[in-house]
C-alpha cells in the first residue's frame, strides 16, 4: 500500500514536471507534426469484408479478371466429375461459405489454384457458388468508382489466414500484434492526428471487457479493430479517445477536423456474405460523398479494400513473400482528387500498402516486417496535375435518388415537332394562297352567317 502511494506521488511529480515542461518556451518550440511529403494531408482507409477481386471485378474491362474459358474442376483429382464455369450471381441468396485458413489452402491447392469448388464441397457447402461473380448491375457504385478513379487489380490480402490476421496486417504490418508498435503508436508519437472510426462504437468493448460480458460481437469487434486487444489503447485515455463512433467522421468532415489518418470499419454494411451489397455500397458512397462535400477533399485520399477473399474464386496465384502471405487478391479502390481517372493500377500491393503510404508520407518508421518491404500506391496518383474537383457519385442503388432518366433522342423530337410546324405552315400558306387566287378570280359567294 505504502509502495503504491509512493508510486502515485512520484507519478504526480513526474506529471507535474512534464506539464511544466510542456508549458515552457522550449516545449513551445518543439516542432509540430511532420508535413506530408505529398499533397495528401488526409488518408482515410476503410476495410470491407470477404470478396475476391474476380468475384467483384472479374468482368471489369481492362482489369486482370476472369480468364476466358476457365472452368473449375469439381474434383481436381477426378476431372471426369466435371467443372464449374464462372457464372453471374445477381441477387441469388447466399450463405457465408467457408473462408478459413484450411479452405484457403485447399483452394490454393499448392499453387495450382484448382480447389475453389472442392474446398467448399468438402465443408458440405455448395462449391459452385465460389465461381459466382458480380458485375456492374450488382455493383454500380463500386464500378462507377473504378470508372472515375483507381482500381487495383494486383492488391492481395496480406495473408491466407483470414480476416483477423489481415486486419492486424492492416494496422501493424505483421500477423500478430504482440508487444510491437502499431501505426497509431507512430502517429501518436509524432503528433500526427488519427482516428479509428467504428460503426456503433461501444467504448466498453476492448481487452478490459469483463470476461462475462464478452460475446460474439465482442470477438468480432476486437478482430476487426486489433488495437482494442492492446491494453494501452484501453487504459490510456489519450489513445482511447482516438477510437470513436463512425458518426464522428461526418462531424469531423462538417467541422473541418478530419484527422490526417483515419481507419474505419463497419459491421452491418461490410458486404460480408450474405450481407446486402447495396448496404455496403451505400455506406461507401456516404463516406466518399461526405468527404467530397467537405473542405478536406482537396488534399485527401480514400482507400477501401476487403479483408479477405471470402472463399470466392480468384484466378491469380498469390505471390509468396513470406511465411504468411500473400493471400488471394481482394478488391481495392482509391478515390482522391489526385487519383488517376479511370485507371487500373497493376502495382503489386497488399493490405500493408496503406500504412506504408502513411509511413512514407509522414516520414514514420515501419511498424512491422511486411510494411517495411511493402510497396505503396503512389503510382495511382498524378500529383503533376491540379486536384480534381469533387463530383458526388450516385449510381442507382435502389434508393429514391438513383433512377436514371430515360432520354429520347433529340433528333426524334426535333424531327417530329419540326414536321408539325412544317405541316401547319404548309396548310396556312396553302389556305392563304388559295384565298388570294379565289379573290383574284372574283371571289366566292359566301354562305352568310347571321346568327
Amino acid at each position: 500500500m505504502r509502495t503504491g502511494a509512493l508510486r502515485a506521488v512520484l507519478a504526480l511529480v513526474a506529471a507535474g514536471l512534464l506539464t511544466t515542461a510542456a508549458g515552457s518556451p522550449a516545449a513551445a518550440a518543439t516542432p509540430g507534426p511532420p508535413a506530408p511529403r505529398t499533397p495528401i494531408r488526409h488518408l482515410v482507409m476503410l476495410m470491407q469484408e470477404n470478396h475476391s477481386f474476380d468475384n467483384y471485378f472479374g468482368t471489369y474491362p481492362g482489369a486482370d479478371g476472369l480468364p476466358a474459358g476457365v472452368c473449375m474442376p469439381v474434383r481436381p483429382d477426378k476431372p471426369e466429375r466435371g467443372c464449374v464455369k464462372p457464372h453471374h450471381l445477381g441477387d441469388r441468396p447466399l450463405r457465408d461459405h467457408s473462408h478459413d485458413y484450411k479452405t484457403a489452402l485447399r483452394q490454393l491447392d499448392g499453387g495450382k489454384m484448382d480447389g475453389f469448388v472442392r474446398a467448399l464441397n468438402v465443408r458440405r457447402q455448395d462449391g459452385t457458388v465460389a465461381m459466382g461473380y458480380y458485375d456492374r448491375g450488382d455493383l454500380p457504385f463500386h464500378w462507377a468508382v473504378a470508372d472515375q478513379y483507381v482500381l487495383f487489380d494486383r492488391f492481395f490480402s496480406s495473408s491466407l489466414r483470414g480476416g483477423d490476421a489481415n486486419h492486424t496486417f492492416w494496422v501493424a504490418g505483421r500477423p500478430e500484434l504482440g508487444n510491437g508498435p502499431t501505426i497509431f503508436d507512430r502517429l501518436q508519437q509524432r503528433g500526427i492526428s488519427w482516428k479509428f472510426y467504428i460503426a456503433g462504437h461501444d467504448p466498453q468493448l476492448n481487452i478490459r471487457t469483463p470476461p462475462g460480458e464478452r460475446d460474439a460481437h465482442w470477438g468480432r469487434v476486437l478482430d476487426d479493430v486489433p488495437i482494442l486487444k492492446l491494453a494501452r489503447f484501453a487504459d490510456d485515455r489519450r489513445l482511447a479517445s482516438h477510437i470513436v463512433d463512425l458518426g464522428e467522421y461526418y462531424k469531423d468532415l462538417q467541422e473541418g477536423t478530419l484527422p490526417a489518418v483515419s481507419f474505419m470499419v463497419d459491421y452491418g454494411a461490410s458486404e460480408h456474405p450474405p450481407g446486402d451489397l447495396v448496404l455496403g455500397q451505400r455506406l461507401v458512397r456516404s463516406l466518399v460523398n461526405g468527404l467530397m462535400a467537405s473542405s478536406a477533399w482537396k488534399d485527401s485520399a480514400f482507400l477501401y479494400s476487403y479483408d479477405d477473399w471470402g472463399g470466392w474464386y480468384d484466378h491469380v496465384r498469390p505471390p509468396k513473400v513470406d511465411a504468411d502471405g500473400y493471400g488471394f487478391r481482394v478488391p481495392a479502390l482509391l478515390v482522391s482528387p489526385y487519383a488517376r481517372r479511370g485507371h487500373v493500377d497493376h502495382t503489386q500491393l497488399d493490405q500493408t500498402a496503406g500504412i506504408r503510404f502513411v509511413e512514407e508520407n509522414w516520414g514514420l518508421a515501419p511498424v512491422g516486417g511486411r510494411d517495411a518491404a511493402a510497396r505503396t500506391f503512389t503510382a495511382a496518383f498524378d500529383f503533376s496535375s491540379p486536384p480534381r474537383g469533387p463530383s458526388l457519385l450516385f449510381e442507382n442503388l435502389g434508393g429514391t435518388g438513383g433512377a436514371t432518366l430515360r432520354r429520347p433522342a433529340s433528333g426524334l423530337l426535333y424531327g417530329f415537332y419540326g414536321a408539325a410546324f412544317g405541316v401547319a405552315a404548309l396548310v396556312l400558306a396553302a389556305a392563304f394562297a388559295a384565298s388570294r387566287r379565289q379573290a383574284r378570280l372574283g371571289g366566292r359567294p359566301d354562305h352568310g352567317g347571321a346568327g
Binding site: 458518426g247 461526418y250 462531424k251 468532415l253 462538417q254 451505400r282 455506406l283 458512397r285 456516404s286 463516406l287 460523398n289 461526405g290 467530397m292 462535400a293 477533399w297 474537383g389 469533387p390 463530383s391 458526388l392 457519385l393 450516385f394 442503388l397 434508393g399 429514391t400 435518388g401 438513383g402 433512377a403 436514371t404 432518366l405 430515360r406 432520354r407 429520347p408 433522342a409 433529340s410 426524334l412 423530337l413 426535333y414 417530329f416 415537332y417 419540326g418 414536321a419 408539325a420 405541316v423 401547319a424 396548310v427 396556312l428 396553302a430 389556305a431 392563304f432 388559295a434 384565298s435 379565289q438 366566292r444 359567294p445 359566301d446 354562305h447 352568310g448 352567317g449 347571321a450 346568327g451
Partner: protein, 524 residues
C-alpha cells in the same frame, strides 16, 4: 350601310334590319394608314415595354423551371439532361422552340423572351381578329387592351406554355373567322392546323375542339360539308401527331398515361371561386364588365361573330371551372375574347344598334380602360421581391440566387431535400442539383408522376443520398406539416445553415432582411 368589315354581301343583307335608319352613322371599316401605323407602333411599343421591363429581375418559378429544364434536356444540356425528364405532362411545342434557342446555352432570359414574343404576336393577332370581326378601330383598341391587360402581361412575361397556347388559340379563332367570313374551306382546314398547334402548345388546348364544334353547330347558316370537317380533322391530326408518336418512340407513353391518371384523380388545388376572384382581378374588372355588356348589348344584333367569341370563351371557362385543378394562367385565351368584346362595346361597333357612346365619351372610356389596365400592369411588373407567391403569377424571389449558390458552392452531384417539389425544380434548374420534395405523396394517384416520393427521408440522409435540406418561405406558408417535418430532419441530422436568401422588408418601421430560402447542410 358601310360594312365595318370586309364581309360577304349575304351577311350584310341578313344583318340589315328595320332599325337601320335610326342607327348612328357607322364607323369606317378601314382606318387611314396614318392612324393605324402610328397607333400600331405605340401599342406594340407599350406591349413590348410592359413585357420586357425588369423581365428577368426574378428567377423562374417552378413551372418555368420545369419547362426550361425540359427544353435544356431536349437541347442536350450536359448539366440538366440528367435532372429533367423530357416527357412530363404536356406536349413539347414550346419546349421544342426553347430547345432550339437553348443550343447556345440554357438561359432563363431566352426562355422568357420567347414567351414575350408569343405575347406580342398575340397582340398583333388580336388586332387582326378584331379588325376582321368588327373593323380596324375595334382591332386596334382590342390590341391596345390586350397589350396592357395585366393578366396577359403577367403570363407572357413567364416561360410558360399558356402564352404560346393563347397565341395559337387566337390564330385558330382568326382562321375560323376567316372561314366564317368567306366560306372558303381551306381556312377551316387551316383552323384545324391552328388547333393542332394549340394542342401541341398545351394539351388543354383540346377544349377548342368542342368550342369549334359548338360554333359551327350554333350557326346553321354556315354550311359545313363533311369533307371540310374531315379536312379540319386531318390537318389537326397531322399537326398533333408528333405528340403521341414521340411519346411512343421516345419511351414516354407510360409517363403520359401516369399523368393522365394523376390529372383525372387529382384533388382540387383551389376552391370554386378561384377564377372569379383571381383571374377577374387580373383581367381587370372594368374590362370584364365591358365585355359582358358587349354581349348583352349584342342581343338585339347577335351574329355569328358573337357566337364565335362566346364559344371561344364559354367552353374553356366551363371546362376549367368544372375541372378540379385550377391554375392562374389557364384562362388566358379567354382574355383575347374579352378584349375584343370590350373594344366592340367602347367603339360602338353595332351595325344596327343605337348603343353608341358619343365620341368624347368613347375617347374617355378608351383612355380610362387602357390607362387603368396599363397602370395595373405597371404595378405588377414594377413590384419585385414580394414574399407572397401565387403559382403562375411570376418569378420566385431568391430561387435563382440560391440555385446559383448551390452550383458554385456544393460538389456536383450533391442532392437536396426541399419541403415541396416546386423549390426542388427551381434549384435543379439553377443549381444543377437534383432535389426531392418531402411533400411528394407515396401514393401514385396523389402525386405528379414526374416526382419521386421520399419514402424514407432518414434513410436518404443516413445513406448520404441527400446532403442539403432547403427551407423556403413560399412552400412553408402552404404546408406547415411538411415544413415542420423538414425542420425535424434538420435538427436530427445536425443541420448547419450554409446559405440564406433574404428579401428586404420593413418591420416595425425599420428595414430588415427576411429569410426566404435557407440551405442547411446535414450529416448522417
Amino acid at each position: 350601310m358601310v360594312q365595318l368589315i370586309t364581309r360577304p354581301r349575304a351577311v350584310a343583307v341578313a344583318e340589315r334590319g328595320p332599325d337601320q335608319a335610326a342607327a348612328p352613322p357607322p364607323l369606317p371599316a378601314r382606318l387611314p394608314p396614318w392612324v393605324v401605323v402610328p397607333s400600331g407602333m405605340v401599342i406594340g411599343g407599350v406591349a413590348a415595354f410592359l413585357r420586357l421591363w425588369q423581365l428577368n429581375v426574378l428567377g423562374f418559378n417552378s413551372d418555368e423551371a420545369v419547362y426550361a429544364g425540359q427544353a435544356a434536356a431536349i437541347a442536350g444540356d450536359p448539366a440538366l439532361k440528367g435532372i429533367f425528364p423530357v416527357f412530363r405532362a404536356h406536349p413539347l411545342l414550346y419546349q421544342f422552340v426553347t430547345a432550339v434557342l437553348f443550343r447556345g446555352g440554357s438561359r432563363d432570359l431566352v426562355a422568357r423572351l420567347l414567351a414575350v414574343a408569343f405575347g406580342l404576336a398575340t397582340v398583333y393577332l388580336v388586332y387582326r381578329l378584331g379588325s376582321l370581326l368588327y373593323g380596324q378601330a375595334v382591332g386596334l383598341l382590342a390590341a391596345a387592351l390586350l397589350a396592357v391587360c395585366p393578366y396577359h402581361v403577367v403570363v407572357t412575361r413567364q416561360a410558360l406554355l399558356d402564352g404560346a397556347l393563347t397565341f395559337f388559340a387566337t390564330l385558330t379563332v382568326l382562321l375560323l373567322a376567316k372561314f366564317a367570313t368567306t366560306g372558303f374551306p381551306p381556312w377551316l382546314w387551316a383552323a384545324g392546323a391552328g388547333f393542332g398547334l394549340t394542342f401541341l402548345a398545351k394539351e388543354t388546348g383540346l377544349v377548342f375542339a368542342p368550342a369549334t364544334y359548338a360554333f359551327l353547330a350554333l350557326v346553321p347558316s354556315i354550311r359545313v360539308r363533311f369533307r371540310d370537317v374531315a379536312g379540319w380533322a386531318v390537318c389537326a391530326a397531322l399537326v398533333i401527331a408528333p405528340f403521341p408518336l414521340s411519346l411512343l418512340l421516345g419511351g414516354g407513353s407510360r409517363t403520359a398515361k401516369g399523368f393522365l391518371v394523376w390529372q383525372l384523380f387529382r384533388a382540387p388545388n383551389h376552391d370554386w371561386s378561384f377564377y372569379l376572384t383571381q383571374v377577374s382581378q387580373a383581367l381587370g374588372p372594368l374590362l370584364l364588365v365591358a365585355a359582358l355588356l358587349a354581349l348583352v348589348a349584342s342581343v338585339g344584333a347577335w351574329s355569328w361573330r358573337e357566337t364565335l367569341l362566346a364559344c371561344w370563351a364559354a367552353v374553356p371557362v366551363l371546362f376549367f371551372q368544372v375541372w378540379p385543378v385550377k391554375g392562374f394562367q389557364y384562362l388566358l385565351p379567354v382574355a383575347v375574347v374579352v378584349v375584343v368584346l370590350a373594344a366592340k362595346l367602347v367603339v360602338g361597333a353595332w351595325p344596327r344598334h343605337r348603343l353608341r357612346l358619343p365620341a368624347a365619351a368613347r375617347g374617355l372610356a378608351i383612355v380610362a380602360l387602357v390607362a387603368g389596365l396599363g397602370l395595373a400592369s405597371w404595378g405588377r411588373v414594377s413590384s419585385a421581391g414580394s414574399t407572397s407567391f401565387l403559382a403562375g403569377s411570376g418569378g420566385v424571389p431568391g430561387g435563382r440566387e440560391a440555385g446559383r449558390w448551390l452550383q458554385a458552392s456544393t460538389p456536383p452531384g450533391s442532392r437536396l431535400l426541399t419541403i415541396g417539389p416546386s423549390m426542388a425544380n427551381i434549384l435543379a434548374f439553377y443549381g444543377h442539383r437534383r432535389g426531392y420534395g418531402l411533400s411528394v405523396s407515396p401514393n401514385p394517384l396523389h402525386r405528379n408522376p414526374a416526382y419521386q416520393p421520399v419514402n424514407n427521408p432518414d434513410l436518404l440522409i443516413r445513406s448520404g443520398e441527400v446532403q442539403y435540406l432547403v427551407w423556403d418561405s413560399f412552400t412553408a406558408a402552404r404546408t406547415p406539416y411538411f415544413t415542420e417535418r423538414l425542420l425535424r430532419y434538420v435538427r436530427r441530422y445536425h443541420g448547419q445553415v450554409v446559405h440564406t436568401e433574404t428579401v428586404p422588408v420593413r418591420r416595425d418601421g425599420a428595414p430588415t432582411a427576411q429569410p426566404i430560402i435557407v440551405v442547411y447542410q446535414v450529416r448522417p
